[in-house]
C-alpha cells in the first residue's frame, strides 16, 4: 500500500499539471467573487468562509474522475486487483494520494484566497485547518464516488452529483467554524464535528470504494 502511495506521488510529481490546475482553479474561483459581489470589504468578509470552502471542494473534485478511470483504461486496475492488495487498501492509497496532491496544495494557496476575500487575518489559521479537514473528507468521499461511477457512461457528470450532496455537512460545519473564528467565538465544536466526519469517512469510504472496485 505504501508502494502504491509512493507510485501515485511520483506520478503526480512527474505530471504536476493536475495539481497546478486545481490550485489555479481554486484561486480563480475565489478571485471571481469580488467581481460579482463588489469590492465592499464587509460584504466580502461575510461571504468569505462559504466561498473559500465551496471553491476548495470544487477544485478538489476536478481530478477525481480520472482517479480510477486512468487506471482502468491502461489495465493497471486489473493488475492492482491481482496484486494482493485488498480493495480498501487500493482505495485508501488513492484517497491519500489525491489529498496530498490536490487538497494539501490548496492549503498553500489558501492565504492568497483568504486575502482576496478579505477574511479577517485572525481566522486564517482556522480557515487552513478547516480546508485541510474538508478536502480530506472530500478526497475520501470522492474516492468512493469515483469507484462507484467507474465504467458508467458520463461518470464525470455523475460523480459530482453523487459526492457534493454528501459533502454538505462538511460545508456547514467548516464554514461555521471559519465564521466563528472571524467573529471571535469558540471554534472548537465546529472543528470537532468536522474532524468526526472525516474520522468516520476514513474507514468507511475506502471500504465502500474497495467493494465497488471488486464488483466492477
Amino acid at each position: 500500500m505504501i508502494a502504491l502511495l509512493r507510485r501515485e506521488l511520483l506520478l503526480a510529481f512527474r505530471h504536476p499539471a493536475d495539481t497546478l490546475a486545481a490550485m489555479l482553479f481554486f484561486l480563480l474561483v475565489t478571485a471571481l467573487f469580488p467581481f460579482g459581489v463588489g469590492p465592499a470589504p464587509e460584504a466580502l468578509a461575510r461571504l468569505a468562509p462559504g466561498a473559500l470552502l465551496a471553491a476548495a471542494l470544487l477544485a478538489a473534485l476536478l481530478p477525481l474522475d480520472r482517479l480510477f478511470g486512468a487506471e482502468a483504461e491502461d489495465g493497471s486496475l486489473d493488475q492492482l486487483l491481482l496484486s494482493g492488495l485488498s480493495g480498501w487498501e487500493i482505495a485508501l492509497a488513492k484517497a491519500l494520494a489525491h489529498w496530498l496532491t490536490t487538497g494539501a496544495p490548496l492549503l498553500l494557496a489558501a492565504p492568497v484566497a483568504a486575502a482576496m476575500l478579505n477574511l479577517p487575518e485572525p481566522a486564517w489559521g482556522v480557515a487552513i485547518l478547516v480546508l485541510g479537514l474538508a478536502t480530506l473528507f472530500l478526497s475520501l468521499l470522492g474516492t468512493a464516488g469515483a469507484a462507484l461511477t467507474l465504467g458508467a457512461r458520463r461518470g464525470g457528470v455523475l460523480l459530482p452529483l453523487l459526492v457534493l450532496p454528501l459533502a454538505i455537512p462538511a460545508m456547514i460545519f467548516g464554514a461555521a467554524g471559519i465564521e466563528a473564528a472571524a467573529g471571535g467565538v469558540a471554534v472548537r465544536p465546529f472543528l470537532l464535528l468536522l474532524g468526526a466526519l472525516t474520522a468516520a469517512a476514513l474507514p468507511l469510504a475506502p471500504l465502500a470504494a474497495g467493494a465497488a472496485l471488486r464488483a466492477e
Binding site: 508502494a3 502504491l4 507510485r7 511520483l10 506520478l11 512527474r14 505530471h15 483504461e73 491502461d74 489495465g75 493497471s76 486489473d78 493488475q79 486487483l81 491481482l82 496484486s83 494482493g84 492488495l85
Partner: protein, 198 residues
Amino acid sequence: MLEANSLAVVRGGRVVFAGLSFNLGAGQALVLTGANGAGKSTLLRALAGLVPLAEGELRWRGAAAEAEGPESRLRYLAHAEALKPGLSVAENLAFWASCWGGAVEPALEAVDLAPLAGLPARLLSAGQRRRLALARLALAPVPLWLLDEPTVGLDAAAITRFGALLARHRAAGGAVVAATHVPLPLEGAGELRLRGAA
C-alpha cells in the same frame, strides 16, 4: 492443478460461454482459440477472478480457487500493458516487484530491456511495451500464467526469448493458459476451441 467445471459467464445479459470444463496440470499448457468475440479474453479474466462466474466452479489444487489470494497463484497478462508513461522502465517494474517480490534487473534481462531501464515508458515502441509487460511474468515465480495474445507486436527474437521464458516456467512445474490467433512457442499444448454461445 487448475480444474474448471462447466463454467459459464454472462456479460451484459449475453451468455459469453457456458458449460466449459477442462483440467490443467503442472507443466501443462492450454491454448484458447476461436473467432473474435468468442470469449477467449473473458475466460482468461474469469480464470483470474476479475469477472464473476454465472455458473460452474473453479478449483485450485482441490480447493475453491478464491481460497488462495491471486498474488501467489497467478499472473495475468492482458491486452493493456498497465504501464505508466511518466515512469521509467525500471520504475514501472519496480512497483510491481514491490507487490509480488522478485528483482527488477533479472526480469528486464529476461526480456532484453536492461539497456533501456532508465528510459521513460512513454518512449517505448509497441513491441518494447509488450516486452515490459512480459517482464512482470519473470519477476517472481507463480504456478499459473494467464496470457492474452502474449506475442502481439513482438519481433522474432523477442518471441524466441519469450519461448525460453515459457519453457523455464513450465519446466519448473508452471501451467499456462494462453489465448491466441497465432502459433505460440508452447510445445505439447492442449487446445480449447471457443465457439461462443450466440
